[in-house]
């Protein structure tokens, strides 16, 4: 006989009716638990596009770099486990005024490129923890699907991307 078979071939009348009663009883108990959810239990789901959840403070969504505070130290690019941050910088031109970041660090290099490939980004947050001026942050913006994968590459020196600052970053 099949060792995994669960058929009760030699069940007595008592066993038979016991199993029958048990089957009905446990099913009714389960059904009653489910039935109680029809009324009285508050709905936990939200209707997404109309109702949006407020994300917690530390939520890690799309990266945003505030280039005015960036000192081109490339620490974020080195910390990135998937190498999705591309930074290029050159020497400041002679006689240029050395600006300071919001926390007082002098900007000695001229940032020429700061691109993040968001399609590669794994949202681990390691780059934001090493940033000395805290200009690279995770915003709370999570709706940014694109038609092409190139569209996921954001150049943070582009004017339209700089304009995000007013929209998505809480200052």
């Amino acid at each position: 006989m099949n060792p995994h078979s669960t058929t009760h071939e030699t069940a007595s009348v008592k066993d038979y009716f016991g199993a029958l009663f048990n089957g009905i009883k446990t099913t009714v108990v389960g059904m009653w638990i489910t039935f109680r959810y029809v009324w009285g239990v508050k709905s936990v789901s939200i209707e997404y596009p109309e109702v949006r959840e407020v994300l917690p403070e530390r939520s890690r969504m799309r990266l945003f770099n505030d280039v005015q505070n960036c000192i081109s130290c490339t620490q974020c690019a080195m910390a990135c486990p998937v190498d999705c941050i591309y930074i290029a910088s050159e020497k400041m031109p002679e006689g240029a005024e050395i600006k300071k970041t919001s926390n007082g660090q002098p900007i000695r290099l001229l940032l020429t490129q700061f691109t993040i490939d968001t399609a590669l980004c794994c949202y681990c947050g390691l780059c934001t923890t090493v940033c000395p001026t805290e200009c690279l942050t995770h915003s709370h913006d999570y709706e940014f699907s694109q038609y092409t994968i190139d569209g996921m590459k954001y150049d943070y020196l582009a004017p339209d991307v700089i304009a995000w600052r007013d929209r998505i970053v809480k200052v």
Binding site: G30, P81, L126
Partner: protein
């Protein structure tokens, strides 16, 4: 490979008169790669004779992401997002195991509060993972509503994790030397409320699913992995405990601060069916949820303000050597074998020992002679996560 399967004396044929004829041609069926019972991308080639499985051959590798090779090129902190993606339903345990490995080589002292917070997050993660296992297992067997109830409660855990770490699934929360962020008192209060609610909820699950006649009939005495088989194959976690063997690394080889905690190790006793069958593996998970709640309550009493990050050099370089650390994840023992070279910023080799890989290798053993529907129940009951199997 095409051998006839043998389940002893053939049963008396009822419809097909010629049993020999019936057995001579086996039908090859592919279960997966996207079968709902496999929770990931696992293809199982099953050779069936009408409704009965003759062989089951798992084909792995659909979720292979070269994590071990990748980690040889990333610094020690950067590996943590990669180990997150091993068992994505219990990421905290993956991080924890990896962090313990590096800390053991570095000789880092982890502050007491950080250790307690690790245990807190770990046990919450265990509840979350077992809720997922519970919900999807009921779903595999045709019950839809338990899945929704389980997800409601898992959502509360995920919300807490989201607030404390910033992500819902791949946290990067447990760091080498400690944890990233501290929990606020308000969040800890919510954990307490959650524990109280969860205990009530677990009773409801017990009534709704565990004792349900249909569920018991589908799972008890099905897919029996005997204790000898479990020991021979090297099974761990709920699969081994479901077979009745009391083995839990938190109790037997305590790491972190687990030696200070008072909790039981639930084993399958054969209350329904026999130890080692699907029902016992399932009930071990549900009992572990209660034990985790016990541990969380004890963490709450022990928590005191303090530092959450130990002294770790800015650029981590390990001494030459190798170390193997294993921890008790929700699905079994997860082991990290790290080989490091002197003055290297990256691991020389990082080998991951995955519990689910062992459990999948037991499937060809238990499958022959099962009905296809029972085989689905067996695959669901070992609660595999393919990210961990394929790495």
């Amino acid at each position: 490979m095409q051998t006839r399967w043998d389940i002893g004396e053939p049963e008396k044929p009822t419809i097909n008169a010629d049993t020999e004829q019936m057995k001579s041609e086996l039908l090859v069926l592919n279960m997966g790669p996207q079968h709902p019972a496999t929770h990931g991308v696992l293809r199982i080639e099953i050779w069936t004779d009408s409704e009965i499985v003759a062989h089951a051959i798992p084909h792995l590798g659909y979720l292979h992401r070269c994590m071990e090779k990748h980690s040889e090129n990333i610094d020690f902190r950067g590996v943590i997002p990669y180990v997150d993606r091993l068992d994505y339903l219990a990421s905290m345990y993956m991080e924890w195991g990896y962090a313990l490995t590096v800390e053991k080589m570095l000789g880092t002292e982890v502050p007491r509060r950080a250790e307690l917070l690790r245990i807190l997050t770990g046990e919450l993660q265990r509840i979350g993972s077992h809720l997922m296992a519970f919900g999807t297992y009921a779903l595999d067997l045709g019950a839809f509503s338990p899945f929704l109830y389980a997800f409601d409660y898992r959502e509360r855990i995920l919300r807490l994790f989201e607030e404390v770490s910033g992500a819902r699934l791949l946290y990067n929360y447990i760091w080498i030397g400690g944890v990233w962020n501290d929990w606020t008192d308000e969040q800890l209060e919510r954990v307490k409320t959650f524990c109280d609610d969860m205990e009530e909820e677990a009773k409801k699950y017990h009534e709704l699913v565990s004792m349900n006649k249909i569920f018991v009939e589908r799972t008890a005495n099905v897919g029996v992995m005997s204790l000898q088989d479990c020991l021979d194959f090297g099974a761990t976690g709920p699969v081994l405990r479901g077979a009745g063997y009391k083995w839990d690394l938190r109790k037997n080889k305590p790491y972190s601060l687990y030696s200070e905690f008072d909790f039981d190790v639930p084993v399958g006793t054969g209350e329904q069916g026999v130890p080692g069958d699907c029902w016992n593996r399932y009930i071990v998970r549900m009992k572990e949820v209660i034990e985790s709640i016990k541990i969380i309550r004890q963490v709450m009493d022990k928590l005191e303000p303090g530092s959450i990050m130990g002294k770790v050099p800015k650029i981590i370089k390990l001494p030459k050597g190798e170390v193997y650390v294993r921890t008790e994840a929700p699905r079994g023992e997860i082991g990290f074998h790290m080989v490091a070279e002197q003055d290297q910023k990256t691991p020389y080799r990082l080998k991951v020992k995955s519990p689910c890989f062992t459990h999948i290798s037991m499937l060809p053993r238990v499958a022959p002679g099962q009905m296809i529907a029972d085989f689905v129940a067996t695959v669901g009951s070992i609660d595999i996560v393919l990210g961990e199997v394929d790495r």
